[in-house]
C-alpha cells in the first residue's frame, strides 16, 4: 500500500527523507564493498523484478485479488541491502515515469516496504528457521506485509496529531490510529496469507535451482 503525495505533512516527510538518504547511503556502501562489477546489472534486474512482482495478482479468498508485494522473496534470496535499494528504485521509477505513487511520500514508502519489510522477513526467517524452514519462510513473508502495513498506518494515523489547525482540524490525513490501524492491518493480514503461500512456492523453486544472494 503506497501513500500518495499530499497526505503526509512536511513534519513527517522531511525527517523521513533525511533518514532514507542515510539508509540508502548505508545500503549502497555495504553493497559496493561486498559485490563486484555485477552489482549494477544485478540491482537493475532486481528493480525490474520488484516491479514485475508488483504486477502479479495474488488471489485471495472470496474471489478477490491483491497486488503482490514480493519483498520477502527478494530479501530472502538476495539480501537486505539489495532488496531495499531495488524497492526504492521501483518506487522512484513508478513516481517519475508513471506518475504513480508519491515523491514526497517516497521516503516513508521506501523505509516501510523496502527496509522494514525486508528486515522483518530476514529476521523472522533467521529466528524461525531452526524450528522449521517452510514455516519460517511463510511467517517471514506474512510479517513482511504486516509490519510495513503497520508502519504506514502508524505514519498516516499520527498526521492529525502533528499537523492540525489551532482548533484541532487535521491538515493532512484526517483519521487517527484508532481507524488507520484496523483499516490497514485487517486486509493486510489477509493479503499476507496469499503472500506467504506465494513466497513459499517461489522459495522451494529457488532451492531447486540453488539461487542465493
Amino acid at each position: 500500500m503506497h501513500i500518495p503525495d499530499g497526505f503526509l505533512s512536511p513534519q513527517t516527510y522531511l525527517p523521513a527523507a533525511a533518514i532514507a538518504v542515510g539508509a540508502w547511503a548505508w545500503a549502497a556502501r555495504g553493497l559496493r564493498s561486498a559485490l563486484d562489477e555485477t552489482l549494477i546489472p544485478r540491482l537493475a534486474m532486481l528493480t525490474a523484478l520488484a516491479y514485475g512482482l508488483g504486477l502479479v495478482m495474488l488471489p485471495l479468498p472470496g474471489g478477490t485479488s491483491g497486488h503482490t508485494l514480493g519483498v520477502a522473496i527478494i530479501a530472502l534470496l538476495f539480501g537486505l541491502r539489495l532488496a531495499f535499494l531495488a524497492y526504492s528504485g521501483v518506487l522512484l521509477l513508478q513516481a517519475l515515469l508513471f506518475g504513480a505513487g508519491g515523491i514526497t511520500a517516497l521516503p516513508v514508502n521506501a523505509l516501510a516496504m523496502g527496509l522494514a519489510g525486508s528486515a522483518t522477513a530476514i529476521a523472522m526467517f533467521r529466528l524461525l528457521k531452526p524450528l522449521h524452514e517452510s514455516v519460517a519462510v511463510a511467517i517471514a513473508a506474512w510479517a513482511s506485509v504486516i509490519v510495513p502495513g503497520a508502519l504506514v498506518a502508524g505514519v498516516l494515523g499520527i498526521q492529525p496529531l502533528i499537523a492540525h489547525k489551532p482548533d484541532g482540524t487535521p491538515l493532512f490525513f484526517p483519521f487517527g490510529l484508532e481507524i488507520t490501524l484496523p483499516a490497514v492491518l485487517l486486509p493486510h493480514a489477509l493479503i499476507g496469507i496469499g503472500e506467504a503461500a506465494l513466497t513459499l512456492l517461489v522459495w522451494r523453486y529457488a532451492r531447486m535451482r540453488k539461487w542465493r544472494a
Partner: protein
C-alpha cells in the same frame, strides 16, 4: 518548460512539489492548480483526466470516510475535503505533467550509475510487464470455466517463478555483455 534541460526540469519539479504541503488555503491551492493547467498547454485535459483517475480510489475512500464520520457527528468538514483533495490533485497533476514533458533518462544524465541502472531496469521492466500480460491472457485463454482458487494460486506462483528465472538469467547475461563491451575495464 521550453528551453529547459531535462535535469533542470527535474530539479524544478522536486523544488515545486513540496510547496502545496505548506499551503493550507483551498483557494490558493485552486489557484495553483489553475496556473498549472494553464502552463501545461495542449495536454492539460489529458493530464488532468489521468490525475483524477489516479487519485480516485484512495481519495474517494478517505473523503467518503470523512463525510460519513461527519454525518454521524452532525458536521461534515467541507474545508478539509476541499483542502485535501485540491492538494493531492495538484501534486499528482504536477507529477503527471513532469512525466509527460520530461525524459527521465535525459534528466539523469550526469549521474552515469543512476542512468545505467535506470536504463537497464526500465528495459527489463517493460519485458516483464509484457510477460505478465501474456501470462494473464494465456490463463484466460486456457480457463474454460472459472478457475479454482488453487489454480489461481498456482498461476500466481508460475508468474513469480518465471520472473525470477528471467531476472537471474538477465542479470548474468547483462553483466557478461557489459564486460565483453569493456564497460568494466578501468
Amino acid at each position: 518548460m521550453a528551453g529547459m534541460t531535462a535535469r533542470h526540469a527535474l530539479y524544478l519539479y522536486l523544488a515545486v512539489l513540496p510547496a502545496p504541503t505548506f499551503v493550507h488555503d483551498p483557494a490558493l491551492l485552486a489557484l495553483g492548480l489553475l496556473v498549472a493547467l494553464a502552463l501545461a498547454g495542449a495536454e492539460r485535459w489529458r493530464i488532468l483526466k489521468r490525475s483524477l483517475l489516479a487519485i480516485l480510489a484512495f481519495n474517494l475512500s478517505v473523503s467518503l470516510g470523512v463525510v460519513l464520520v461527519g454525518l454521524w457527528r452532525g458536521h461534515v468538514d467541507t474545508d478539509w475535503l476541499l483542502l485535501a483533495n485540491l492538494r493531492v490533485l495538484l501534486m499528482v497533476f504536477l507529477g503527471f505533467w513532469f512525466v509527460a514533458r520530461v525524459n527521465l533518462l535525459a534528466a539523469l544524465q550526469g549521474w552515469p550509475t543512476a542512468t545505467l541502472v535506470a536504463t537497464l531496469a526500465l528495459g527489463q521492466a517493460r519485458a516483464f510487464a509484457r510477460l505478465i500480460r501474456d501470462f494473464r491472457l494465456a490463463f484466460a485463454s486456457r480457463s474454460i470455466v472459472k478457475p479454482r482458487l488453487l489454480d489461481r494460486r498456482r498461476h500466481a506462483g508460475a508468474q513469480a517463478v518465471a520472473l525470477l528465472d528471467k531476472a537471474q538469467v538477465q542479470s548474468t547475461e547483462v553483466a557478461l555483455a557489459m564486460r565483453s563491451r569493456g564497460a568494466f575495464d578501468a
